[in-house]
Amino acid sequence: MSERGIQWFRFTAPANFYDLAGRLIPWFAALTIALFAAGLYLGLVVAPPDYQQGDSYRIIYIHVPTAWMGMFLYVLMAVYAAIGLIWRIKMAEIMAKAIAPTGALMTFFALWTGALWGRPTWGVYWVWDARLTSMLILLFLYLGYMALHAAIDDRQRASNASAVLAMVGVVNVPIIYFSVQWWNTLHQGASITVTDAPTMATIMFVTLMIMVLAAWMYSIAVVLARARVEVLERERNARWVQERLEDGRT
């Protein structure tokens, strides 16, 4: 089993990744906590209420970052999946698999907060607005990816097959988004236009950016942690795992 290590590049070698990620995760975790603390304080306490929406607008501080994260992570997942499929780099496969649950969670947050923001703003929890609808479909794409990965027993085949699905999905996301948007403008009967916040004060903008960074840091930390577990599971019989167990360097 241990000969397998020879095929890997230095950079992608699982042992190196395992150690490096182990060192990086605490830093990202610390940054996450610091940024979330700052963002929440600014967003919930310091920033003034919106003159139209009152305090309900404070939801956008998590709605917008998680929505961006959900979309971006899908693209990132597809890129890693493609790298893993084409160049057969196992670390890329692991990263793609590790990203999916966090991406799905972020997309779910975007939908949940969107619904809770919609109620006071438009009077209904759910509107079939272009953005919410595409986010919903994005969530389904994430769920399909994870379900396919889980349904195939052979690990290599699971990675390859779900990589094809991720790539098909990433080509489709813009098509879906534009067709949903087009559909939405056609059915503008009971007119609802969605805009984040018409004019954004500086403090609001700064807070939003801090929260976006916080979402980034959190995603990186948790994806690395999950990838680390995945590496450990795949390499459980390799010598480097045993060595680290004996040294207590886990």
Binding site: M1, E3, Q7, D154, R155, N237
Partner: protein, 207 residues
């Protein structure tokens, strides 16, 4: 028939976490037969699928002459015929239809007479226009073999071709194999039974 060697260099295969075999090398020249043996689950079928280009090896390379098999013009199917565990027959079509369609797909449709005489030589005279679902397991296997032999590929890769065949038919198949070898064809075969074949035979033991 064949003018090139068929080579495997440093092949390895794995299933899940398990290495089935590694560092496997062999060269097969025209007119030679390679019999792969080993207990169940040692990777015989995996090896044959890798050789025929259906699976990718975990390491190593298979060559047809000097060309890696995956870069052969028209795919591996243009130089080799493969018979796996399933017979690849459509139950609703007759034996002849099955053979003709497979030939048409492969680009060389055999004539009606050629099909009849091939089926007859495998002891299936008169069965050609029955839907395959009426045939017994052994008869289906023979139809599959007839299809393969009619495509006249230089290299034949046979996974348990004797499965479900009776003793008399084994003799018929053996002479077909010997004829293929004498025409400078090549064969890779796995079997449970030992069948002695006249010709340049080699053995490969896995596991």
């Amino acid at each position: 028939m064949a003018d090139r060697e068929f080579r495997a260099v440093d092949l390895a295969a794995e299933r899940g976490d398990r290495r089935l075999f590694e560092h496997l090398d062999f060269t097969l020249s025209p007119g030679q037969l390679l019999q792969v043996s080993g207990r169940n689950g040692c990777g015989k079928t995996s090896l044959l699928r890798i050789l025929s280009g259906l699976s990718r090896p975990a390491a190593g390379q298979v060559y047809w002459g000097d060309e890696p098999v995956q870069s052969i013009d028209g795919g591996t199917g243009s130089c080799l015929g493969y018979l796996g565990h399933p017979n690849a027959l459509k139950e609703d079509l007759t034996a002849e239809e099955n053979i003709l369609i497979a030939g048409g797909l492969a680009g060389g449709r055999p004539s009606h007479e050629a099909v009849l005489s091939m089926l007859a030589s495998l002891g299936l005279a008169g069965y050609e226009d029955l839907p395959v679902r009426f045939l017994s397991q052994g008869q289906k296997r023979r139809v599959a073999l007839a299809r393969l032999l009619l495509q006249a590929k230089p290299l034949l890769i046979l996974d348990e071709p004797y499965a479900a065949l009776d003793v008399q038919v084994i003799d018929v198949l053996r002479s077909a194999i010997e004829a293929h070898l004498s025409r400078k064809g090549m064969i890779v075969i796995t079997t449970h039974q030992v069948v002695d074949i006249d010709g340049d035979c080699h053995n490969l033991r896995l596991g």
